[in-house]
């Protein structure tokens, strides 16, 4: 019984916060101004406590298992949610349903936690659904906007389609191996056509959630329609959680099929990087731009995953930590500017430096990190992904990845140029930042600079195996 409280403490903590919010909501109701700080503090406590007392173990007949690495990965997601609660303060305060927003987001987070810890295909499927459906509801959160509803609709339909294929794959897998337990599947894999077909179906579900080309088409529409807070949740936290379970499924469960999935990863990584970059090149809307550029980033994550040993796990985990800081900072700036001026086009960012130097510097840091420019952390993240990917000796693959880094450098720097150099008659007005937003930007900026410079962070992640 004690095991439940120690091994599932992250899940229990999140559940507790959800119920607390529910009670507050059905009670008298508290004003947003008073409730938000409480939530922020709760999330902070949740984040800090996530660093302690992490143990390795399994529960419920191996359906749920955890380790120090998994606990750390969960805590990266906790960090992301905490940053979101700070970054989007302005938008949240205006919302009529702030408590529901957090209940939904935490439910999705809970689903992700179970997903990362899942020990068989059934739990995996259930937790995947738990992490998806609340987000579809969140996508619809701008109630008065038609595009928001459209995005939510597209998301729920596409997810349903993906889930159908996934379930089909799970039943085929059960048929072909006679088990749904992650621990037992590897022994039963013999590479028969049926198993490969089942694996492709399962793979496509991961690919859908990660927005890997050609399963990515829903992404841009949903990101553009959703409130920025939700887009950022989708692009950072949702992607991160699926990447964690994807890599552990590939390395542990489907290890015998490595020859198959290595080639799949290579093909899809190349397609994803190239298509994501090509689309990102021509976007004018900042949200669509970030959507496509995050697709390209996933391509790089796949490069790191292809290594198939511990260096891959470390590189991916480290990259996602950095990605949380960088991409959330970029989304945060887009949100602040959109909230205050209603402007969402890249052209509107021209001359931002004149009026908002602090925001401009944070944005520049974030974009440099996303582009992988040294000495920001993003550079180290990409470096480790590429070295992990290079382990197999497929240098043309790494060359393509490196070329794509150059292309992405071009479009990220395009924004930096707009902000710092281009002239504009009517730049965005000077924005007075809320303290908690400022705090979030400072945390992100520090994360972007320091995560790369402190090599012990990487060493620490490496030591978690």
């Amino acid at each position: 019984m004690n095991d439940i409280f120690t091994l599932m403490k992250s899940e229990l903590a999140v559940t507790a916060i959800i119920f607390l919010l529910l009670l507050i909501k059905i009670g008298k109701g508290v004003r947003n101004e008073a409730l938000l700080p409480i939530i922020q503090v709760l999330l902070l406590i949740n984040l800090i406590s996530g660093f302690f007392f992490n143990k390795e173990g399994a529960l419920f007949g191996d359906m749920f298992h955890t380790s120090t690495l998994i606990a750390f990965q969960k805590n990266i997601l906790n960090l992301g949610v905490y940053l979101i609660s700070l970054l989007f303060t302005d938008w949240l305060k205006k919302s009529q349903h702030m408590a529901e927003f957090f209940m939904l987001i935490l439910s999705a987070l809970l689903g992700m936690f179970f997903m990362i810890s899942s020990g068989n295909l059934l739990i995996f499927f259930l937790s995947l659904e738990l992490s998806t459906i609340p987000v579809a509801a969140l996508a619809n959160f701008d109630l008065e906007k038609k595009r928001s509803s459209e995005g939510a609709m597209k998301m729920i339909l596409s997810s349903a389609f993906s889930s159908g294929i996934l379930l089909f794959g799970i039943s085929l897998m059960y048929g072909a191996t006679g088990t749904i337990s992650f621990a037992e599947i590897p022994a039963k894999l013999d590479g028969s056509s049926l198993q490969v077909l089942a694996f492709v179906f399962l793979f496509s579900a991961f690919a859908f959630k990660l927005s890997i080309v050609p399963f990515h088409l829903w992404t841009a529409d949903v990101y553009e329609g959703s409130p920025i807070a939700v887009s950022s949740f989708l692009s950072v936290i949702s992607k991160g959680s699926v990447a964690f379970i994807f890599i552990s499924a590939l390395y542990k469960v489907f290890q015998p099929m490595q020859a198959v999935w290595y080639n799949m990863l290579v093909i899809l990584a190349v397609a994803t990087m190239i298509i994501g970059n090509l689309f990102a090149l021509r976007q004018q809307n900042i949200k669509r731009f970030l959507a496509f550029s995050s697709i390209a980033q996933v391509g790089f994550i796949l490069v790191g995953m292809s290594s198939s040993d511990n260096t891959g796990v470390t590189a991916v985990t480290y990259f996602i930590l950095i990605y949380v800081f960088s991409n959330l900072a970029a989304f945060g700036i887009a949100s602040v500017i959109s909230e205050h001026s209603g402007k969402e086009n890249i052209d509107d960012y021209k001359g931002l430096y004149k009026t908002n130097p602090f925001l401009s510097w944070v944005l520049a840091l974030a974009l440099f990190s996303l582009a992988g420019v040294p000495p920001t952390a993003g550079f180290f993240g990409k470096l480790f992904l590429l070295t992990a990917g290079a382990a197999k000796g497929e240098y043309w693959f790494i060359t393509i990845a490196a070329l794509n880094m150059v292309i992405s450098l071009y479009y990220y720097l395009r924004i930096v140029r707009a902000v710092f150099m281009d002239k504009n008659e009517t730049p965005v007005d000077k924005i007075k930042l809320n303290d908690s937003v400022k705090l979030a930007f400072i945390i992100c900026g520090a994360g972007i600079v320091l995560t790369g410079l402190f090599s012990w962070i990487f060493d620490f992640i490496q030591s978690l195996h």
């Binding site: 597209k154 596409s158 294929i165 490969v196 492709v200 793979f203 399963f215 829903w218 080639n263 799949m264």
Partner: protein, 645 residues
């Protein structure tokens, strides 16, 4: 065993000075910056002397051989097991001797600058740069591996750049610091490639291991290093030669010397420290560090070292006879003396008596540091007094500047090799080594030593005798206060007495003490030549007359060529501007504009076109998305079930 903390403090104290003055100099230490830096360096000097005492007289000698110690080794970047970049301290007779030289001369310059630089607007900045330089130089001499040397090598270059350009509002100073930086950078490229070759061959960066692996025939590293060849020359020879290119750049060896005379644009105490006593001998130090590799594995490279040194020595001495700017005379003299040290290494062999040249080279480095620093500081005192660098504005200053006069005279006698001053002893050993190994170099060295005596006394008589001093009307202060005279006196004592140190007892190529044997008959020739030089200079310059002009006229063409430094600068300008620019730069620019840009634009246009093309996929219709999704699944399944099996 050496005490790592004490030794580590020696470079760290000046670094602390740099950090403190760099951050708070302008506000907190506005008036006390000089004192602070000097006190820190004094502490450093005391520690260095203590270390030297302990090493040479207490623990250093085991079985009458001086041992090598590595009291501190921190792994900085580990590439894989066995190859890492470390930061360490390497203690052997050479590094201990260099510690003493660097801290002592630096301390003298710190004290002297208290008076010389007084009233400067950027006084704290000056001292912080001095601290940075001293730190880098000490880090360089203590380095335990070749990569660490490279790092500090570059740091030394940077601080030299900063100090030459100290008067940044003077265009000539700015041009000089750029020139120094670019020329030495260019040489450092050779150094870096050399390091890469050597470490690739030996599989290590660490000095001791590297030397051990590359000098013992039969080991696998040795065989690789000798058998790999490029253009008919073995890898190890390339490596050693390229390292020497780096050393030649920093040590202003012909033909990479062109930056040194221009570097005299920096403040004079800086010239004394960096461009006379310490940084410019880094090249010599580098060759001595890798000396076993040079001497045992690639003796051919050592021949190059010897000839480059000899040519530089005589070449610079001839130019020095014609210059009229007193600091430039000293600059060429420095180049000539470093040439001495280089060829001394070139004619040396490894181990025992045959290693005489090695000991002599470092002995000369040691004595040269004393008298050359003294010459520069004394010249600084003269410049301070007359506000000009030109000989024609001086003359007859022995009344006005009595202490400067005496100390300058001692330094001149030392550099001219007059017994019993320091330069005599070290130069004797160099000449003896040359005589035993390479007679051609010996004669070059002999002529050079006569020339040295001549141009030094030309300088001396022109400054202190020649004509009665005419004041140019400005109100004159005296000779400079106590802080400026104290270093002169201390250095003069060094220049007079340093020769009596039995140097070979302490520093030799393989650590075993070397008895210096003194041959009276052998030293007759150089001393006579030196005295001839001195008396010729006296006859020409003691009082004003038309003899120098007549001689210059009779040697018309040669004199002009020497006066214009043999047009080496012009050659460089011709090569870079005319040849490199027209033959390589212009075609490269054309290629860049028309081919590279064209290709880039084509790629850009293609990308845009594809981007427009695939836009149709992103239609916004969710049914179509599902179709693509399904198509993706089917293609993957088909690919991996039927094709890829």
């Amino acid at each position: 065993m050496p005490n790592a903390t004490i030794i580590a403090l020696i470079p760290l104290l000046p670094l602390a000075g740099f950090v403190l003055l760099g951050l708070f100099g302008r506000k907190v230490f506005r008036n006390s910056s000089g004192i602070l830096a000097t006190v820190l360096l004094l502490a450093s000097t005391v520690l260095a002397l203590y270390t030297a005492y302990e090493y040479f007289f207490v623990y250093g000698k085991v079985d009458s051989i001086y041992q090598k110690f590595i009291p501190l080794q921190l792994t900085w970047l580990e590439f894989y097991k066995g190859l890492s970049i470390d930061m360490g301290i390497y203690i052997d007779p050479i590094s201990v001797m260099m510690l003493v030289v660097v801290t002592f001369v630096s301390l003298m310059v710190h004290i002297y600058s208290l008076g010389y630089m007084k009233g400067e607007e950027r006084f704290p900045v000056y001292y912080s740069f001095l601290g940075l330089f001293t730190f880098s130089m000490l880090g360089l001499v203590l380095a335990s591996n070749i990569f660490q040397i490279y790092i500090f090598w570059e740091l030394v270059g940077v601080s030299s750049f900063l100090l030459i350009g100290y008067y940044y509002d003077k265009p000539s100073a700015v041009a000089a610091c750029k020139k120094a930086f670019i020329v030495t950078r260019f040489a450092d490229l050779g150094f870096l490639i050399g390091i890469l070759i050597l470490s690739f061959c030996s599989g290590t960066l660490d000095f001791q291991t590297l030397i051990q692996r590359l000098t013992v025939p039969g080991s696998s590293e040795f065989n690789t290093a000798v058998s790999y060849s490029f253009m008919g020359v073995s890898a190890i020879t390339w490596g050693a030669a390229l390292v020497f290119v780096g050393g030649a750049g920093k040590s202003a060896m012909f033909p990479l010397h062109i930056w040194l005379p221009d570097a005299m644009e920096g403040p004079t105490p800086v010239s004394a420290l960096i461009h006379a006593a310490t940084m410019v001998v880094a090249g010599v130090f580098l060759v001595t560090r890798l000396f076993p590799v040079f001497a045992i594995t690639t003796p051919n490279t050592l021949v190059i070292v010897g000839w480059v040194g000899a040519v530089s020595a005589i070449f610079a001495a001839i130019i020095a006879c014609t210059q009229t700017d007193i600091k430039r005379v000293l600059a060429y003299s420095t180049m000539s003396q470093i040439g001495y040290m280089m060829f001394a290494l070139g004619v040396s062999k490894y181990g025992g008596e045959a290693g005489l040249g090695f000991t002599a080279s470092l002995f000369h480095l040691f004595t040269h540091a004393m008298f050359k620093a003294l010459l520069f500081l004394a010249a600084g005192a003269v410049i301070h007094y007359v506000h000009s660098n030109e000989m024609k504005d001086m003359g007859g200053l022995r009344k006005q500047l009595p202490i400067t006069h005496i100390t300058f005279l001692i330094a001149c006698l030392a550099i001219a090799g007059v017994p019993p001053f320091a330069g005599f002893f070290s130069k004797e050993e160099i000449l003896l080594a040359a005589y035993q190994n390479n007679i051609a170099i010996y004669y070059i060295a002999l002529i050079t030593s006569g020339l040295t005596a001549f141009y030094m006394f030309r300088l001396y008589f022109n400054i202190f005798w020649s004509k009665p001093y005419e004041s140019h009307g400005e109100s004159h202060h005296g000779e400079g206060g106590f802080v400026m005279m104290l270093p002169l006196v201390l250095l003069a004592i060094g220049a007079a007495a340093a020769g009596f140190i039995p140097f070979g007892e302490y520093v030799s190529s393989d650590g075993t003490p070397l008895k210096s044997n003194f041959h009276l008959q052998f030293s007759i020739a150089p001393v006579v030549l030196g005295l001839t030089g001195i008396f010729t200079a006296m006859w020409l310059y003691r009082s004003q007359n038309d003899r120098p002009a007549k001689i210059a006229a009779s040697l018309n063409g040669f004199y002009k060529a020497a006066y214009h430094k043999f047009y080496i600068d012009e050659v460089y300008v011709f090569i870079t501007k005319k040849i490199l620019f027209n033959l390589i730069g212009k075609p490269a620019a054309w290629f860049d504009r028309n081919v590279v840009d064209g290709a880039v634009n084509l790629t850009g246009a293609t990308t845009q076109a594809i981007s427009v093309g695939i836009k149709k996929i992103q239609s916004g219709k969710v049914q179509q998305y599902a179709i693509y999704f399904l198509a993706g699944v089917i293609v993957l399944a088909a690919l991996f079930i039927y094709v890829w099996k």
